[in-house]
C-alpha cells in the first residue's frame, strides 16, 4: 500500500485534512492488527485511537527509510504491548525452564488439511486466547519476532516465551479441530 508523500508532509505540518486522509487509508488495516492483540473490538479501537494519536505526534520522526505501513504497524504493536503492560498484569506465570523440543516439533508438524475459513473467524479465535498466549503468539507468528526479541519486549525469559507460544498453538489447534477447520488426517485423493 503506497502512500502519497503529500499526505505525510501534510501530517507533519499538522493539517487535519492530511491526518484524516492517512486515517482513512490505514485505519481498517491497523484495526485488524489491533484486533489480534486485543480481547475485543472496544479494546482494539482504544488501542487504535491512542496509537493514531501517537503516530500524528511523532510522524516527523519517520525517515522514509522503510515502508510507512510497517512503521505504523510497529507503533500499533508497541502501543498494544504498552496497553497491556499498563492496564493489566500479563499472566506469564508459567516459566518453563526447559521445553521439550520434540514436543514443539510435534506440534509444528503440518496438519493434513484445513477447510476454508474467514479471517474474522480466525481473529475471533486468536482473541479468545489468554492475553499472555495471545501476545507471544502474535509477535512470533505475525510479526516474526524471535523468542529473544519477545523476551526483551515483554520482559520475560525466552523459555517463558517458548512455553506461551507452545500453549497458544496447542489451544488454537484444538479449537480449530473443534470447529472442524482442521482435520488430522484427510488425504485428498483417498
Amino acid at each position: 500500500m503506497l502512500i502519497d508523500d503529500s499526505i505525510i508532509e501534510g501530517c507533519v505540518a499538522g493539517k487535519r485534512s492530511a491526518q484524516s486522509a492517512l486515517y482513512l487509508k490505514y485505519s481498517s488495516v491497523m484495526l485488524a492488527v489491533c484486533l489480534r492483540y486485543a480481547q475485543n473490538r472496544d479494546e482494539a479501537e482504544d488501542i487504535l485511537q491512542e496509537a493514531f494519536l501517537k503516530i500524528f505526534q511523532h510522524i516527523s520522526t519517520y525517515r522514509k527509510e522503510g515502508s510507512f505501513e510497517g512503521w505504523m504497524k510497529r507503533i500499533m504493536i508497541n502501543h498494544a504491548l504498552n496497553y497491556y503492560r499498563k492496564n493489566r498484569k500479563l499472566p506469564f506465570h508459567e516459566n518453563i525452564e526447559s521445553i521439550n523440543e520434540m514436543e514443539i516439533m510435534e506440534l509444528e508438524e503440518p496438519q493434513a488439511v484445513h477447510a476454508p475459513v474467514s479471517a474474522e473467524k480466525l481473529l475471533a479465535l486468536i482473541q479468545k486466547l489468554p492475553p499472555g498466549y495471545r501476545l507471544v503468539f502474535n509477535m512470533f507468528v505475525f510479526e516474526e519476532y524471535s523468542h529473544k526479541e519477545i523476551s526483551e519486549a515483554l520482559s520475560i525469559s525466552e523459555n517463558t516465551s517458548k512455553s506461551q507460544l507452545l500453549k497458544a498453538r496447542k489451544m488454537l489447534r484444538n479449537r480449530l479441530f473443534d470447529l472442524n477447520i482442521l482435520q488430522n488426517t484427510a488425504p485428498i485423493n483417498e
Binding site: 499538522g14 485488524a32 485511537q49 494519536l53 477447510a115 488454537l172 489447534r173 484427510a186 485428498i188
Partner: protein, 474 residues
C-alpha cells in the same frame, strides 16, 4: 460436500503460515465515530499548545459565543449592590469608620487633605455660643485651624506630634506642643511605615463631636488617618478596592503598515475597522471582537513579449538618374533595421484583500487615574480571507506582441494567525465615554501566502488604532 471440496491441502505444512495467509492484510472498518474522537483529541492537544490552525470557523464561532455567554452570566449574576460598590471604587474616595455613638452628634468638621507628599489638616469648629456658655471671646462662630506637614521627610521617626492648639482667646493657632488646652488638641502622628498614599488628592470631611482631645495619626496599613477623641476612635481607611467588573465596547479604525520579509522586502498600508467587546475584572480584561480589514499587497506578473527593436539603419537606393554632366544622381531613403527580440518584463500591481479578524486579547491595566488609563493587551488573533480584488497588469508595449502573461502573485492563505499586542491609552471624556489611542504590533505566526516558508518570511505590522470606547455598567 465431499472431503476434496471441504478441505484444502495444508501445503505450507504449518499452522502459522495458514494463519498468516488468512489474517494478514485483512481489513476491518473501525467505528465511524472513532475519527471524530481522534480529531477531538488532536484539537485539544493543539489548543493546549496554543496551536489554533485546525480550529474551524464553527469552533471559533462557538468559542466567541461561549465567551460572551460566560462573561454575560458573570456580569448579570453580580448583585446590583456589588456593581454599585464597584462603581464607587473608581472615584478615589476614602471611607471612615465612625463609631455609631459619634455619628450625627456634633457640628464640627475635620478636613484632611493630601495633595501629593504634603498633607494638611484643618479643624473647623462651628461654635455655638450656647455651648461656650456665652463666652464673649467667641464673637466669630467659626474657629478654624490648619497646618501642613511633609509626610515624607519633615517628621521624625516615631513622630514628634505636630500639635494644633486652639486659643479661644484670640482665635489663633498655637503651634507649641505640649500645651494642653481645655478646648481642643489636634496631633498628627507620623508612622515609620507610612507609604505615600497613591492618590493625587484626597479629602475627607466628617462631623465629629468637638471635644478636648483630637489626635490624628498618619497612615498605618490601610488606615489613612486616625482621630482619637474621648468619644471614640475614628479610622479613616482606604476603601477596600472592590473588584470592579464592567463591559466596554470599542469602535474605531486602525491604519497599519505591514512589512513583508525576504525575498522582497517591502511595506504596505492596511486599514482596519474594529469593533471590540471587552470584559474588565479589576485590572484585568479579556477582549474579543471583529475587525474588517483591507490589506494591500503587490501583485506580481511576468510578461513575455516580442518587439521589433531598432538596431540600426541603412540607406537604400530607391532610384537614380543621370545628371547634366553625366553624373549619377541617387535617390535614397533611410531604412531602419529592426530585430525581433523576446523580452521579459515584471509588472507589479496593487491588490486588495479583505479580511475578517477575530482577536482574543488579555489585558492588564498598568495605570489609571480619573482621566486616563493605560492598558497592555496581548493575545492571539486569526484573520480569515473573505475577499480579494486582484488588479490586472498594465501591458502597454507598442510594436510588441504579447507572448505570455504569467501571474506570479503568491496565493494568500485563507486563514492566518498572529500574536497581537497593543497599549491602549484611554482618555476619558466622561464616566461612560472615552477616546482611545492604541499603538499595536502584530507578528504573524505563519506567512500570508502559501508559497512562502514559515520560518523566514512571516510578516509583521505596526498600527495605530483610534476610536471611541463606551463603558457599559461602569
Amino acid at each position: 460436500m465431499n472431503e476434496e471440496t471441504k478441505y484444502k491441502a495444508f501445503d505450507e505444512g504449518r499452522m502459522d503460515e495458514f494463519l498468516r495467509q488468512t489474517v494478514e492484510g485483512h481489513r476491518i472498518e473501525p467505528d465511524p465515530g472513532l475519527w471524530k474522537a481522534i480529531s477531538r483529541k488532536l484539537l485539544w492537544r493543539e489548543i493546549s499548545r496554543l496551536n489554533f490552525k485546525n480550529l474551524s470557523a464553527r469552533n471559533w464561532a462557538a468559542g466567541v459565543a461561549g465567551l460572551l455567554v460566560i462573561t454575560s452570566v458573570i456580569y448579570l449574576g453580580l448583585p446590583a449592590s456589588n456593581r454599585n460598590a464597584a462603581d464607587d471604587s473608581s472615584t478615589g474616595k476614602h471611607i471612615a469608620s465612625v463609631p455609631a455613638a459619634m455619628q450625627n452628634t456634633g457640628n464640627d468638621a475635620i478636613a484632611y487633605t493630601h495633595p501629593g507628599s504634603q498633607a494638611s489638616v484643618s479643624l473647623t469648629k462651628n461654635v455655638n455660643k450656647s455651648t461656650l456658655h456665652d463666652d464673649p471671646s467667641f464673637s466669630n462662630p467659626i474657629i478654624s485651624q490648619s497646618g501642613k506637614f511633609d509626610i515624607n521627610s519633615n517628621l521624625p521617626t516615631g513622630g514628634k506630634p505636630v500639635t494644633f492648639l486652639e486659643n479661644p482667646e484670640d482665635n489663633t493657632t498655637n503651634a507649641s506642643s505640649g500645651v494642653t488646652h481645655p478646648i481642643g488638641k489636634v496631633s498628627i502622628m507620623p508612622n515609620q511605615s507610612q507609604i505615600p498614599i497613591p492618590f493625587s488628592e484626597m479629602e475627607i470631611t466628617r462631623l465629629v463631636p468637638y471635644n478636648t482631645a483630637l489626635v490624628f495619626s498618619l497612615p498605618i496599613g490601610d488606615t489613612i488617618l486616625t482621630i482619637s477623641t474621648p468619644g471614640g476612635i475614628i479610622n479613616f481607611k482606604k476603601e477596600t478596592q472592590s473588584t470592579s467588573r464592567f463591559f466596554s465596547v470599542n469602535l474605531g479604525v486602525e491604519p497599519e503598515m505591514s512589512t513583508y520579509a525576504e525575498p522582497d522586502n517591502y511595506s504596505k498600508f492596511n486599514f482596519w475597522i474594529n469593533g471590540r467587546l471587552t470584559y474588565h475584572i479589576s485590572r484585568f480584561s479579556i477582549a474579543t471582537g471583529l475587525g474588517l480589514g483591507y490589506v494591500f499587497d503587490e501583485g506580481k506578473y511576468r510578461i513575455d513579449y516580442q518587439s521589433r527593436d531598432s538596431v540600426g539603419y541603412f540607406t537604400s537606393v530607391v532610384s537614380y538618374t543621370t545628371g547634366a554632366a553625366n553624373e549619377i544622381i541617387y535617390k535614397t531613403k533611410t531604412e531602419n533595421i529592426y530585430d525581433s527580440l523576446v523580452h521579459m518584463a515584471d509588472d507589479r500591481t496593487r491588490n486588495r484583500y479583505t479580511y475578517l479578524q477575530v482577536p482574543v486579547l488579555l489585558g492588564y491595566r498598568l495605570f489609571e487615574s480619573n482621566s486616563v488609563s493605560l492598558t497592555f493587551q496581548i493575545g492571539p488573533a486569526v484573520s480569515f480571507l473573505i475577499g480579494s480584488h486582484l488588479s490586472e497588469p498594465v501591458i502597454n508595449y507598442p510594436n510588441a506582441r504579447i507572448i505570455k502573461v504569467e501571474n506570479n502573485t503568491p496565493e494568500r492563505v485563507t486563514a492566518n494567525w498572529q500574536i497581537w499586542t497593543n497599549l491602549n491609552l484611554e482618555i476619558r471624556m466622561n464616566r461612560k465615554t472615552s477616546f482611545y489611542f492604541e499603538p499595536s504590533f502584530k507578528y504573524f505566526l505563519s506567512p500570508m501566502t502559501s508559497q512562502e516558508k514559515a520560518t523566514a518570511k512571516a510578516p509583521w505590522s505596526v498600527g495605530l488604532g483610534i476610536g471611541l470606547q463606551f463603558n457599559l455598567g461602569k
